[in-house]
Amino acid sequence: MTDAAAPAPASGTTSATPAKSAPRRLPLKPGEASGGARFFAGLLVIGYALIAMIPLVWIFATSFKSPPDSIAYPPEVIFEPTLEGYVNLFTSRTRQTAEYIESLGPPQTWYEELVRKRNMVISGPSRFADRYWNSVVIGFGSTFLAVFLGTLAAYAFSRFKVPLKDDLMFFILSTRMMPPIAVAIPIYLMYRELGLSDTAAGMILLYTAVNLSLSVWLLKGFVDEIPREYEEAAVVDGYTRLQAFRKVILPQMRAGIAATAIFCLIFAWNEYAFALLLTSGEAQTAPPFIPIIIGEGGLDWPAVAAGTTLFLLPVVIFTVLLRNQLLRGITFGAVRK
């Protein structure tokens, strides 16, 4: 889902750039687009953004539809919004006879009222909140670990004489050369032996291992860009290497760390195959849970859409919060120091 979200903010920023640039100067600089070309480029970007946004808008709209509206054909574009999808997402319900519901007396809350319209009563909370919390713990936990370990490794590879440095870096890269899912079965068996199946610790470990190669390689690039003179100046001034790292290098790696963290989080947050294979009762994350929310007579599409909408939020918020760092991080050395 977030894969679909990724192009949208990116194209958003691209379309903002021409608007922000300085007022028109004449004559044109070489390489600068003329007014007509800029208009056309803007149109193209906006058009692309609209196409990229369609699935998101669709999901968001569906989450506010009633179940009949959600499967209506032709699709309902104008509809009466309801929170039923969200209520269904967070509750489990049982069908009851009209007489039984009558005997319960008037509903106490707005969501109970909503449920009773369909001749149902709430029997308890659903497991969605648990699954969501698992995603948060596993996603952010593995991101933190991958970035933390990646930063240390990247610094060491960048600054110290590590024996077989190039071979080690290649080895780290090679762990990503085949799709992780190719080793799913051995990992499944190992995890079962080690008691890591269906545990948050196991999933954090797995996602950290998968993300670490990306993290080390990305961050090493960022450390390489920071001139050694910075640390040497601090060391000559009487700081230890560790203090120099903390006071001088780390603050300058902020952009790189932010960019790396987002990439790691997006992977861990969206990962589906391993989550499906290795988790079930305890440590299941949201991705394998959301698509199997069953309503009456099949999938409960509004609840699925509601779950997806809520699932999108953390990555969007995380990305928006770090967008300045991210922009600098992704453009690498292009921005003047």
């Binding site: 003179e229 910075y230 601090a234 060391v235 000559v236 001034d237 009487g238 700081y239 603050p251």
Partner: protein, 339 residues
């Protein structure tokens, strides 16, 4: 302030020998400039003083103490880098205060403020203290860099081409300022440059480096007048010294060993009686003086420095001679022949 020495120091990086048996003694309060082209070992020499490199053999001392195995922080030296040494995430004030907040050298905040303000005033950046380091112009950045070395009053200042990234006018201003500060503080400075003008104007003594060896270490004037080798002769003076085979242009070798005459352009006489026929190839009018390039024989060129009154046209035929007694003589191995 203190004296500092390198004693028979050698340093290699893999196959390359960066420093080859160098002996340098910097006197207390001396401004020593190391001059040489890229790759001559200037920066490595500085880094050996600072402790950023450890010598393979030999000793480093500062203030009479053997610091060969001492880490940089314990040596109490200050290093000014060519660029990059300001921390972009700190303000100017924080950059200047950084050395005073180092563990083991930590000063009370009031003292830090006093020192930083004083140094900032001295370098005329007092009004910029609150700025981010990245908001400064090149000249201001380099002042802050120098200021960061000055706040601590270390034993020894090490400066690695601190002015080379600046434009000509700024470089000149800062050069004068740097010399004034050094004199006021009585600071001991080892200064690296490849700019001969900087070397001539700043140095008490110049050390000429060639491929990791110290060729000559003397006062600028001595090196100019009595260069130890052809290489040293070519490092100072613009245009470069003329190298003339013994006997031509009226030069008379003083000893059998004399093979090449080194003649400064100001000692070449143009348009005189005698001498050899020459053709004027190029004339550069520089205001106070005029530089002429002359072709003496097939493919042999001579630079001459002329008075501004001396009118001469490109393509003209003239006669060239060397002022008697002017040449310095070099032997077959390009070494100075002492007479």
């Amino acid at each position: 302030m203190a004296e500092a020495t390198l004693e028979a120091v050698t340093k290699s990086f893999g196959e390359t020998t960066a420093i080859d048996g160098v002996d340098i003694r910097v006197a207390d309060g001396e401004f020593l400039v190391l001059l040489g082209p890229t790759g001559a070992g200037k920066t490595t020499t500085l880094r050996l003083f600072a402790g950023l490199e450890t010598p393979d053999t030999g000793r480093v001392t500062i203030g009479g103490v053997d610091v060969t195995r001492m880490p940089p922080g314990a040596r109490d030296v200050a290093f000014v880098f060519q660029q990059y040494s300001l921390y972009p995430h700190y303000s100017v004030y924080e950059n200047l205060a950084f050395p005073l907040r180092a563990p083991g050298r930590r000063q009370p905040e009031a003292e830090v403020r006093r020192r930083v303000t004083e140094i900032a005033e001295m370098l005329r950046i007092g009004h910029k203290l609150k700025n981010r380091a990245t908001q400064l112009s090149g000249g201001e950045m380099q002042r802050v860099s120098i200021g960061r070395a000055l706040v601590r009053a270390p034993n020894l200042f090490l400066m690695d081409e601190p002015l080379s990234s600046l434009d000509a006018k700024l470089r000149e201003d800062l050069r004068v300022e740097l010399k004034r500060i050094q004199r006021d503080l009585g600071a001991t400075i080892v200064y690296v440059t490849h700019d001969q003008l900087e070397a001539m104007t700043l140095a008490d003594r110049i050390g000429i480096l060639d491929a990791g060896r110290l060729v000559q270490l003397d006062a600028p004037r001595t090196i100019y007048e009595r260069p130890a080798t052809v290489y040293a002769a070519q490092r100072l003076g613009s245009p470069q010294i003329n190298l003339i085979p013994a006997g031509s242009l009226g030069t008379a070798p003083a000893a059998p060993a004399c093979v090449t005459a080194g003649v400064r352009p100001e000692d070449v006489r143009v348009g005189t009686e005698g001498g050899e026929a020459a053709r004027v190839i190029a004339v550069e009018h520089l205001g106070a003086e005029t530089v002429a390039l002359l072709e003496v024989a097939e493919g042999r060129h001579v630079h001459a420095l002329l008075d501004p009154e001396h009118r001469i046209a490109e393509g003209a035929e003239t006669r060239v001679a060397v002022r008697p007694g002017a040449p310095v003589w070099f032997d077959r191995d390009n070494r100075l022949v002492s007479i």
